[in-house]
């Protein structure tokens, strides 16, 4: 491993916390080159840790310092980082999370997917704040990390199996203390929206599974070997008790009682449910997919992620007796987006995505685009029609099998539209190549902006500006400067939550979020962090992501929305028209750039922006 751009790299030491490192950290990242199973350690200074915290924030710092500019995301030089955070391992609820960060093979820009599981705790307690994988193994392999010891073993028994099966197999081979993140067949075949999975959870967006698959790594297994202590154990314990109590309140009731699928019927009522590839924003079959009824008819149990007191996982019974964790985005993407209303078919498609290791949002969005192409006669697939659940299942299988159509769709809707042409790019439902989540931009104007400018692409977890649209303070059909300010605020909050890391389902319990998060970080690290510092940290992380993208070829026109969303209008139940226009979107983007200290081309303009961009 060569030290690059100021990064200090050295052979991996033992796993004890080095002297002088802030609470909650080890002060180092383990870099594993799976070409020959060699390791180096990157020292993470207190300045770096304080500036980027962990998770998505530290992930972008690692990418800027370890990824060669212009690297092929599926090439051996491309790093894939599993990034932990100072809160991981504390009793703070929802903190057992980690970020998987890489250059996305779907977008060509940064992607950072978060997930919750015991892998976060075990991975961190190998003695590292991050584990970075580079290189390419000579054969399908499992990467085992136990403290500073790293081994590559054959994955012959796991290759070709689902992520869940691979995870179970690895734990059977090496023992229950090992925690495993694995890819499905989609990752092995480098489908550009393949996931990394563990404990039934998925780091879903941006094709991280393909990056791991390109390295010939089926699974990464980690085993804890050390401990890490917060600076103020008693203070953290008291804060954890308080947060735990608050997590049982009304602010999280939706997640506890029905889960995110509760969005579906509500979104339908307010014309924000994208349907049939964004041709409409209400779905006549929404009632059939409503959590309010499905939970009664099919709900089996509820689960929690590791170290979580909310318990948002709602497990439904599928046809044939199997079970499935159901979320709004799965059901939206494979249901209304594809015009499918039969719950059996939608749940089956969602389960198939899990088995194959596919991101449901990109899979559904890409298939919906293909359905529209087929109905317009732009691609030769007469069987692919909106509303046909069996067609969705067939398309999912073909994507992974690599048939002619499947290979086209396996690159996502942007690339597929570039191949098909004939105006199909106008209705390809993506930003920067990432398929859009279940929030209709024409009736959620702050969200429209958030989707357009976000570094990861069309994404509801790094922006979250729909909160501003739905809070009742802004006219969600009349986007302007106020919406830009709201989008900045929600993006900043997400940047901090994704770096600490805390689950966003907890966000409603914080009255003064930045101040309260600063207090938590101070208790863990021993730093005297305040709200102002954390606000600056948020801006730094957002700008660092933009800087990484700029290095990888981002141009201003990448901050934009598909033509359909700018040309076609929607009529709401009230009679008002939901419409975006190029002019309106431009005004909001300009206001966003100004608020971020960027020039008209989206590049750092102010001294503060340049300083924080680094």
């Amino acid at each position: 491993m060569t030290a690059e751009r100021g990064v200090t790299a050295a052979p991996a030491p033992g796993t004890a916390v080095p002297a002088g490192v802030a609470g909650g950290y080890f002060g180092r990242a383990l870099v594993v080159d799976v070409t020959d199973a060699t390791t180096t350690t990157v020292t993470l200074s207190e300045r770096v840790l304080r500036d980027y915290v962990g998770g998505a924030g530290l992930g972008v710092w690692l990418m800027r310092h370890l990824a060669p500019p212009g690297v092929d995301p599926l090439g051996p030089q491309a790093p894939l980082a599993f990034v932990f955070s100072p809160l991981v391992g504390t009793p703070l609820t929802t903190s057992a999370k980690f970020a998987v960060v890489a250059k996305s093979p779907l977008t060509g820009f940064l992607t950072d997917a978060l997930a919750s599981s015991h892998f976060a705790i075990a991975g961190k307690l190998t003695g590292h704040d991050a584990i970075v994988v580079t290189g390419r193994a000579s054969q399908p392999s499992v990467l085992l990390i136990e403290g500073g010891d790293v081994r590559l073993v054959s994955a012959a028994g796991e290759w070709g199996r689902s992520a869940a099966e691979a995870e179970a197999s690895v734990r059977e081979r090496f023992g229950r203390p090992w925690r495993v993140a694995a890819i499905g067949v989609a990752g092995e075949r480098q489908v550009r929206f393949a996931t990394v999975s563990h404990d039934g959870r998925h780091a879903g967006r941006g094709g991280l599974g393909a990056v791991l698959g390109a390295k010939n790594i089926k699974a990464i297994a980690v085993r804890p070997t050390t401990k890490v202590a917060p600076a103020d154990p008693a203070g953290v314990l008291a804060a954890a008790r308080d947060l735990r109590a608050r997590s049982f309140g009304a602010a999280t009731a939706k997640y506890r009682e029905l889960g995110t699928l509760a969005n579906l019927l509500a979104f339908n009522a307010i014309s924000t449910l994208p349907t049939r590839n964004f041709q409409t924003a209400t779905f006549e079959g929404a009632e059939q997919l409503a959590a309010e009824d499905l939970a009664q008819a099919r709900g089996v149990t509820k689960n929690s992620c590791a170290s979580c007191t909310i318990g948002c996982e709602h497990i439904y019974r599928r046809k044939g007796g199997k079970q499935l964790r159901v979320e709004y985005e799965n059901v939206f993407a494979l249901g209304p987006m594809c015009g499918v209303s039969d719950p059996d078919e939608v749940l089956e498609a969602s389960a198939r995505c899990d088995e194959l290791g596919l991101d449901t949002i990109s899979a559904g969005g890409t298939i919906a685009w293909a359905m529209e192409c087929a109905e317009r006669g732009l691609i030769d697939a007469p069987w692919l029609r909106f509303g046909d659940g069996s067609a969705v299942l067939r398309a999912l299988d073909e994507i992974v099998e690599g048939t002619q159509l499947g290979a086209l769709l396996a690159r996502g809707s942007k690339h597929a539209a570039e191949q098909v042409g004939q105006g199909s790019g106008d209705f390809a439902p993506h930003v920067k190549g990432m398929e859009m989540p279940g929030y209709e931009p024409r009736t959620l104007h702050a969200m429209a902006l958030g989707l357009a400018v976000n570094a990861r692409g069309a994404d509801h977890n790094r922006s979250g500006a729909y909160e501003a649209d739905l809070a009742g303070d802004l006219d969600r059909l009349d986007g302007g400067a106020a919406h830009a300010r709201a989008a900045v605020e929600t993006e900043d909050r997400a940047a901090v939550m994704d770096s600490l890391i805390l689950c966003k389902f907890l966000r409603g319990v914080f009255d003064e979020p930045f101040a309260e998060w600063a207090q938590l970080l101070s208790l863990v690290t021993g730093w005297d962090v305040d709200a102002a510092e954390l606000r600056e940290t948020a801006v730094r992380i957002v700008l660092a992501k933009r800087a990484y993208n700029a290095q990888e070829g981002w141009v201003p026109s990448d901050d934009w929305l598909p033509a359909r969303l700018l040309d076609d209008t929607l009529t709401l139940g009230s009679g008002r028209v939901g419409a975006l226009s190029r002019e309106r979107l431009r005004v909001m983007i300009d206001a966003y750039y100004e608020a971020r200290g960027l020039d008209a081309e989206g590049r750092p303009a102010t001294e503060t922006a340049r300083r924080l961009t680094g």
Binding site: A250, Y255, L258, F267, A269, E292, H460, A471, G472, G573
Partner: protein, 272 residues
């Protein structure tokens, strides 16, 4: 009346809050614009929507034309036309305001004033005015010509009788008797107004709010979002949002409702 009309209670709200809320809804439906409340100098007002602007008459007791002059001047740089009304119209309908404002675009000579002739009377305090009239109205006040009729003599007035008003199907359905112009001048008027049944609206709860027997849509009588929530036993707290007719969401319990409205109650943490 014993109490200033603006502060008269109205179904958990006040008359002024009701009228200002209806005006805000009408403006939202027609593309937005400010709601301006003109008061006597220093007059105490009940709570208003956050978006309402308050302006003072320069002197007290100069009649409605002065208030019209102040109001039109306040919005002249932001709007070409304005709907002007008094505070004592408890049954004012969103569709009525929409009809009056739309009449500025009807065929014929562009009017300066759209004057409803509803229920057999001129309704200068439920009428539309071009905001460019503000200086002319101010001059009339200076000249002590304080009746709206003096203004109408000087400008182009488009009169809308009952039939012309009801040419708008939405208004005909929402307000067949044109109660929008019914005002309350005496205690008996007020008591009679309060005794009328509240608007009939459809209410539906979503997500966790639909538990405890609240699944499905229900018809209730409610004058505001707050009373609609109350009617179905739903605490309208910070964890709850209301969407009106599938459109804007609101946390304002005083938001007025009209007959036929559909109210959707959602979890405030909508999203995933």
């Amino acid at each position: 009346m014993g109490t200033p009309k603006a502060s008269l209670p109205w179904h958990g709200s006040t008359l002024l809050r009701q009228v200002a809320g209806v005006a805000a809804r009408a403006l939202e439906a027609t593309g937005g614009g400010p709601v301006v409340v003109v008061r006597a100098p220093g007059q105490e007002l009940p709570e208003l929507p956050d978006t309402a602007e308050v302006h003072d008459d320069p002197v007290e007791g100069r009649g409605p034309l002065q208030g019209i002059a102040v109001g039109l001047a306040a919005v002249a740089d932001r709007a070409e036309v304005a709907f002007v009304c008094s505070t004592d119209l408890p049954f004012l309908q969103v569709a009525f305001i929409g009809r009056v404002l739309a009449a500025f675009d009807d065929a014929g000579v562009p009017p300066d004033v759209v004057l409803p002739m509803a229920r057999g009377h001129r309704q200068p305090l439920a009428a539309g005015y071009r905001t460019s009239l503000a200086p002319r109205v101010a001059k009339l006040v200076e000249a002590d010509r304080l009746k709206p009729a003096f203004l109408f003599e000087e400008c182009e007035v488009r009169r809308l009788d009952d039939a012309a008003l009801h040419a708008d199907a939405r208004l005909a359905a929402a307000d067949p008797l044109l109660d929008s112009v019914v005002n309350v001048n005496e205690p008996d008027d007020y008591a009679a107004a309060l005794a009328r049944p509240a608007p009939e609206v459809t209410v539906q709860c979503f997500g966790v709010l639909a538990s405890q027997g609240r699944r499905g849509s229900r018809t209730v009588r409610a004058a505001t979002i707050g009373t609609a929530a109350e009617a179905i036993g739903l605490p309208f707290d910070r964890h709850v949002l209301a969407a009106l007719n599938g459109d804007q969401t609101s946390r304002d319990p005083h938001l007025p409702l009209m007959t036929g409205d559909q109210v959707s109650f959602l979890s405030a943490d909508a999203g995933g």
